[in-house]
């Protein structure tokens, strides 16, 4: 076994791992980050600087898996329920990038905070049949200083006071909002006329030069693309800061196959290098940040056996409502992918309570609604028929130019049947069992989707849509458009939930695996509930909190301007 002198080994270089590395190295710790994906993010000759590997290239990022994982060599298995047998699909399943920077590299950068209620779902709303609705072992007030710290570290633009439903903040956003998309200007005005409360999306993309990185120049290649000029701060800002301390080593193309455990302690890791050779490395402390699918997979491969491990997978059930506007050119490919959102669907009112009651539920909540347009040319072309009418149809551009959409990131409840385990038969190219995802939305998700989808349709009609289409991800039978039964939200949450009771939770309130003294989980696996907000900022704040706890330090509001 090779000895390592680092204070911590961090598995995964995405937002959670990068945050842990930044906080710990700032506190004087030395860390080794082990990342199974390739490094396209940092300059290999000077890892304190970003690289130039990203580009405005639809082929490279959308059709050719540049950010990984490639489903041929790193597939997943999927089934809707155990009744389906071993699996119904092998390939891509709601994957987030496998690359240095992880999920932060492809995200469009929306980074909302959770609200106070999100941490106290059982106390505020009460239980739901079949679901595990619980309070978190911490509340918003406890997490707020860490939210404030990481917003400054990654650089978040937004406007304090714009969202009437927002949780309290100890200070303003580090940057003002960027330019609003033309379509979002129209949809926000329509939403206000319908009585909703749209606001500028908190976004980890620079609206001004910040932290040595330029302002976003509105190229439009945000969601699913790496930023060529690194105006998106998460997680490049955190990784370059950690590297600049001289106390962080990054091992890319290094896949951890197992955490080595003796009794109540991890003694090291077993890993496979870029050439396919297996090695082991000593570790004093192991921080796992592989995301809510790969983290439980690794813990299961390591022999952990806990009834809640891998259970309660949440993905955000997406309600997608699309309007067509033949008289407008909305050009959503100019600017950030989403500039406006609204939270009204997360606030229960008389109408939603009545709809919940009608559906036989005590309550339901939707999620944050994103105002966005659709598609780049290759995607549009694929939806356009071939033949004599193709060229003119592309020129008319009914999708790319004349479509506007709302995507509601609907809150998933935690069901023990929605889970990640190890596939009995499918292997990755390294010979390791792949993750098998079992997922189906419950009555709560479907009822909330149906109710709020109708409201979103009204907004699009108010905006002037000639017709409106509803769909969802995953697809369900009431939708007008059929879609895959596999979730495609790219949000994965909740498979190693935190709690004070070792019998019902996998990690404690600091992310430490119960009964293991030196293994900490620092990603969205630890979430108790999903909320209807994207998980990134909350998982980053939790990772910062866990790292500060380890180092015995307090959050600091560093001004990176």
């Amino acid at each position: 076994m090779s000895e390592v002198s680092a204070d911590a080994v961090i598995i995964g270089s995405g937002p959670g791992g990068a945050t842990a590395a930044e906080v710990l190295t700032r506190a004087g710790w030395s860390v080794v980050i082990v990342e199974k994906g390739r490094n396209h993010l940092l300059d290999p000759d000077d890892m304190t600087r970003p690289s130039g590997g990203y580009s405005n290239d639809e082929i490279k990022f959308i059709t050719r898996h540049f950010l990984g994982p490639d489903p041929l060599v790193e597939p997943r298995a999927f089934r809707v329920s155990a009744d389906d047998g071993e699996h119904t699909h092998v390939g891509e399943v709601n994957s987030i990038p496998t690359t240095v920077g992880g999920g932060g590299t492809h995200a469009d950068g929306k980074v909302p905070r959770f609200r106070e209620e999100d941490f106290r779902m059982l106390s505020v709303n009460g239980p739901q049949e079949d679901a595990h609705v619980d309070d978190w072992p911490l509340d918003y007030d406890e997490l707020e200083p860490y939210y404030a710290e990481v917003e400054k570290a990654i650089g978040v633009s937004g406007r304090q006071g714009a969202n009437p439903f927002a949780a309290w903040r100890s200070g303003p956003y580090p940057m003002p909002p960027g330019a609003p998309m033309y379509g979002a200007v129209l949809s926000s005005a329509a939403a206000e006329r319908v009585g909703l409360h749209p606001y500028e999306a908190p976004t980890a993309a620079n609206s001004i030069a910040y932290d040595g990185r330029p302002a976003c120049n509105n190229c439009g290649f945000c969601a699913f693309f790496g930023c060529p000029i690194h105006a998106k701060g998460d997680p490049v800002a955190l990784l370059t800061k950690a590297m600049a301390t001289g106390r962080c080593e990054l091992m890319a193309e290094t896949c951890v196959s197992r955490i080595l455990i003796e009794g109540s302690r991890a003694t090291g890791i077993e890993y496979i290098d870029a050439d396919g050779s297996m090695h082991t490395m000593d570790a004093k402390l192991v921080i796992v940040a592989g995301g809510a699918i790969e983290t439980p997979r690794l813990l299961l491969l390591s022999g952990l056996d806990h009834p809640a491990l891998g259970r309660h997978l949440m993905v955000h059930f997406q309600t997608i409502v699309v309007g067509h506007f033949s008289q407008l050119r909305l050009h959503p490919y100019k600017g950030r992918a989403v500039t406006h959102v609204h939270d009204d669907a997360m606030i229960q009112d008389e109408a939603s309570r009545a709809a919940a009651k009608k559906a036989g539920l005590p309550w339901f909540r939707g999620g944050m609604v994103e105002h966005s347009g659709g598609g780049l040319p290759i995607m549009e072309a694929r939806y356009t028929p071939w033949g004599r009418l193709h060229a003119q149809a592309m020129r008319d551009s009914n999708m790319r130019e004349r479509m506007w959409a709302f995507i509601m990131q609907g809150e998933d409840l935690a069901y023990s049947t929605n889970m990640v385990d190890l596939s009995p038969s499918i292997r990755d190219a390294r010979g390791l069992p792949v993750a098998r995802i079992t997922y189906a939305p419950g009555k709560h998700e479907l009822a909330a989707s149906k109710h709020h989808g109708k409201i979103l349709q009204k907004v699009l009609e108010e905006m002037g849509a000639e017709f409106v289409i509803h769909t969802s991800s995953p697809g369900v039978s009431y939708n007008e458009l059929g879609t895959t039964p596999r979730p495609e939200s790219r949000h994965v949450i909740g498979t190693a939930r935190m709690g004070d009771d070792p019998a019902t939770s996998v990690v404690d309130r600091w992310g430490r695996v119960h009964n293991l003294d030196n293994v900490v989980v620092a990603d969205s696996s630890v979430f108790v509930t999903a909320s209807g907000y994207g998980p990134t900022l909350t998982l980053v704040a939790l990772a910062a909190r866990a790292a500060h706890h380890l180092a015995g330090t307090a959050p600091a509001l560093v001004d990176w301007l």
Partner: protein
């Protein structure tokens, strides 16, 4: 392994001359150029597909164009410097393009049929005389093989509207016809262009 930077690729790169002619005719039916706009012929769509099937003829393989800028809107033209593949990347892309061909290291989850075989069989199924029959018959034959037709259509779309460095969208004709500026870095769009009609 691939050939060095001084190598001038033949046309076609991977297909036979006859297969290439059949592919060009099929692409031209899918994206005809008779409506005043450019079609697959002007866009070099068949060259995109042939180049993709022969990606490993090049060194580095023509899978991922470089970055951060193409030079079309400023900055150094770096798309043409394709990324090198890792061992795992190469395994994935050889599996996808060449298929598993009975090799154990490519069949860890069973045999994989590659794009080369799909194209070889799909083009053959269109008929030896595909380039000679009239357009109506060509379209009938294309529709008769739904699976190959769907595969070909996906690649036609990439070849017509993807970055020109991959061999298609010749001189940006696909983007120009739909009033799309393509990769706009490092110029980007002004705030006014984003927020106004």
């Amino acid at each position: 392994m691939g050939r060095g930077p001084g190598y001038v690729c033949p046309v076609p790169v991977w297909l036979s001359d006859h297969e290439y002619a059949t592919l060009r005719a099929a692409c031209a039916q899918m994206m005809p150029s008779d409506q005043g706009g450019p079609g697959a012929e002007e866009g070099g769509v068949a060259d995109y597909i042939d180049g993709f099937l022969g990606a490993f003829t090049f060194d580095p393989p023509r899978i991922w164009a470089g970055g951060p800028f193409s030079g079309r809107h400023g900055g150094e033209a770096s798309f043409s410097r394709f990324h090198r593949l890792s061992r795992l990347d190469e395994l994935a892309w050889r599996m996808r393009i060449e298929g598993s061909q009975g090799m154990a290291e490519r069949e860890f989850n069973g045999p994989v049929v590659g794009l080369q075989q799909h194209y070889r069989e799909g083009l053959a199924a269109l008929g030896e005389d595909f380039v000679e029959v009239d357009g109506k018959e060509q379209r009938r034959r294309l529709r008769a093989d739904e699976r190959f037709c769907a595969l070909l259509w996906d690649h036609c779309c990439e070849g017509m509207y993807g970055a020109p460095e991959y061999g298609g969208n010749r001189n940006g004709v696909g983007w120009a016809y739909i009033d799309y500026e393509g990769d706009v870095q490092p110029r980007g769009y002004s705030d006014a262009e984003v927020s106004q009609p």
